[in-house]
């Protein structure tokens, strides 16, 4: 199944001993020159790459307080060393968050600090060389920017910030990662990460409408580019074709239908995900975010709702207002943007949805908190709403729910192993090994509480899990979307349900 060893579950959660270089051989494919150039990066490594890289580092330190500070203030206390899922899964010393940061920090010290310039041996400062660039490429693509380390750092040092900075420097010298940069190009040119053109989207949505009608007997619309609709739904493009994402999309449509909402999707902004963040590039992130603003303006909508996606929600929640705001042309009664779980939960609390949780009785659920939602955003009015609201939705539509161990969820949730631009098959080994801590937690609740399914709330988590859990002995259909569960349990007006034929149906009395 794989040409590498699948890590075994740790019966006691022992932290592995650091071994240098166990993952040095795994690096993602390089972006082609045309992909680089489309994003405004050089297509190939220039002659004076070293100077460009150092200048870029200097520029980033001037532009970002986070990087400026984090380069200086780490005291190497070791608090983060055992917190990264990639370190736990690979034992590679350079996958310890502080060691990963040090790959950049040792160069920063050499060129930008007094100590590093005059006493490099004392502070571990080194010259920038080809080997260092190679190390950056390898290890900054073994970080999913999940921010778990930043929770535990006494100064809040966030390796994601460092990792984004490093990728930005690499891009500036023509060394891009194929997966991220090719996708960014597609999203900017066509409107979504998958490069699905308008007609293909339309086709897919029509097919889904038919499926819903066949299943429920109710005509549920999946509107596209409807001018004057109230709500613009922006969702990750994986929702249009991948499993179990697409069942989530059906769920959103049913919820909108049940609420009697006027809504639409957009072909121009048919992507919630924003890979600009992964490569740490403000301009590219902003450019993609602006597509959503433009779509909202062109369609004349009043509200913006985002589908289930982790880093998309971080960009939408935390960056969109800053990068593409102000959204004063939208209805001020609603937050901009809203998460689909906020939207659905409000309807549930108002009693506006007809739900029968027993329709999910064939499952025992647990929930995987996505890292970018857990540690990079919020839902609802209160801090921590991002943990409560998805669980409230699940519990309203399922009778059997169990949390995974407390040290693996909510604020300290483990990444799925495929976030941050790593969801590409050329680094499968990183993805499988990085999933170890989550798989251990899932295994525990499976054994102790008979959990059968894990709900996820992010397109990347869903894709990553369906791909890697078979390596750990689970099956891919054990991963479900939250709105897939909603879809199962919701009873639309006029719906012919299976229970119509059951004897306990009221009309039969």
């Amino acid at each position: 199944m794989a040409d590498f060893d699948i890590p075994a579950y740790r019966t006691i959660k022992i932290i592995p001993k650091p071994v240098e270089g166990t993952m040095a051989h795994v690096k993602p494919y390089f972006a082609k020159p045309e992909h680089q150039e489309a994003l405004g990066f050089p297509g190939e490594k220039p002659e004076n790459w070293k100077q460009i890289a150092i200048d870029k580092l200097g520029e980033i330190v001037k532009k970002y307080k986070s990087v400026a500070l984090f380069m200086d203030i780490c005291v190497k206390c070791g608090s983060c060393t055992d917190k990264c899922h990639y370190y736990i899964g690979t034992s590679d010393a350079k996958n310890m968050p502080v060691a990963r940061q040090d790959l950049l920090r040792k160069v920063y010290r050499r060129y930008f600090t007094f100590a590093g310039k005059y006493f490099p041996w004392l502070v571990g400062a080194v010259d920038l060389t080809e080997e260092i660039i190679d190390e950056w490429y390898v290890y900054y693509h073994q970080c999913s920017q999940c921010r778990r380390c930043s929770v535990f750092c006494p100064y809040g040092i966030d390796t994601a910030e460092i990792s984004m900075a490093a990728r930005e420097i690499l891009d500036a010298i023509g060394i891009g990662q194929k997966y991220c940069n090719e996708i960014l190009g597609k999203a900017q040119k066509i409107g979504n990460n998958l490069g699905l053109p308008g007609p293909a989207l339309e086709n897919t949505l029509e097919g889904l409408e038919e499926d819903i009608e066949d299943e429920t007997g109710v005509v549920v619309k999946m509107p596209l580019d409807v001018k004057g609709a109230d709500i613009l739904l922006v969702t990750p493009s994986a929702d249009f074709f991948a499993e179990p994402h697409i069942d989530g999309l059906i769920g959103y449509a049913k919820v909108f239908h049940a609420a009697g909402a006027s809504w639409t999707m957009s072909t121009y902004a048919s992507e919630a995900g924003n890979f600009g963040m992964f490569i740490g590039n403000y301009a590219n992130t902003q450019k993609l975010t602006m597509r959503i603003r433009k779509a909202a303006l062109d369609l004349g909508v009043k509200r913006l709702v985002f589908g289930e996606c982790g880093h998309a929600w971080r960009v939408a929640y935390s960056f969109m207002n800053t990068m593409a705001g102000p959204f004063d042309f939208l209805d001020p009664k609603y937050p901009v943007p809203e998460h689909i779980c906020e939207y659905t939960n409000n309807l549930i609390e108002a009693g506006k949805l007809n739900l029968d949780p027993s329709l999910n009785d064939d499952m025992v659920l647990t929930f995987h908190d996505s890292c970018n939602i857990a540690r990079g955003s919020r839902m609802g009015k209160k801090a921590g709403g991002q943990f409560e609201i998805p669980r409230a939705v699940i519990k309203a539509v399922c009778n059997n729910y169990v949390d995974m161990p407390h040290d693996t969820i909510k604020e300290v949730t483990f990444c799925c192993g495929g976030g941050g631009g790593l969801l590409t098959d050329d680094i499968m080994e990183v993805r499988v090994k990085g999933a170890l801590p989550r798989m251990e937690a899932l295994d525990e609740v499976t054994r102790e509480h008979g959990v059968t399914h894990m709900a996820a709330i992010c397109a990347i988590c869903k894709s990553q899990f369906t791909k890697v859990i078979p390596y750990y002995g689970f099956s891919m259909d054990q991963i479900v979307s939250i709105h897939q569960l909603v879809s199962n349990a919701i009873i639309l007006d006029g719906q012919q349900t299976e229970s119509t034929t059951e004897p306990d149906k009221k009309s039969a009395d």
């Binding site: 970002y64 200086d72 190497k76 070791g78 502070v123 921010r147 929770v151 943990f387």
Partner: protein
Amino acid sequence: MTFIIAGFYYIAFIIFVGGVLLKIKQYWTTPAPIKIPTTPAPTTRLGVLYRMGKEIIVFESLFKSNKWIWIFGWLFHFGMFAVLFRHLRYFLDPVPVIVVMMQPLKYAAFAMLIGLSGLLFRRIFVARIRYISDPSDILMLILMLGIGISGTMMTFFGNVDIVATKSFFIGILTFNFQPFPTHPMLLIHLILVAVLMLIFPFSKLLHAPGIFFSPTRNQVDNAREKRHIAPWAAKLDKTRSV
């Protein structure tokens, strides 16, 4: 001797204060172009004060992370703060009542030494921490231990002329130089402290002022309500089409 020590202290003091101020200026003025608080984060300024207070006083994040580092780190830092507070008696005349009352704080020196020893032990014997340590990380602990041990020796076993030491320091502060009371332990103690001041602005010791500027900790979670535009990002904004 008096003038060498006094001169050394003036230089160390200028570099320490000047260097730290320059770094604070850098941290203060470098923009944070987007909202990146590690969430769940407070939604109000007051909430942020509470969060920062917990970080600084009880090392909350470290507590969540690792109880050993936390206990040694906390003993060291708060032992040191207590000892520093007690040091006011060597600079202030008359000694304020509160400082006199806090005389038992001299035992805090042992907390500081235990904390430092624990951290040094971990740095050497825990493989993960050994891997991430540079020579400077070890030397820094040894330097602090040197300061702590020499100070403790004087307080508990020494025969240092405290009155003369105090007038020497007040002399430095008031440019009215008094003879340096030559005592090997005091000489070691003072030289190490001056070295610490000298390296402060060039080292990881910047974590002390730095923590207050950490955007993942000091930002309010209000990104949906407020825009948060850095000056350089505002220029990009102007190129927007809609």
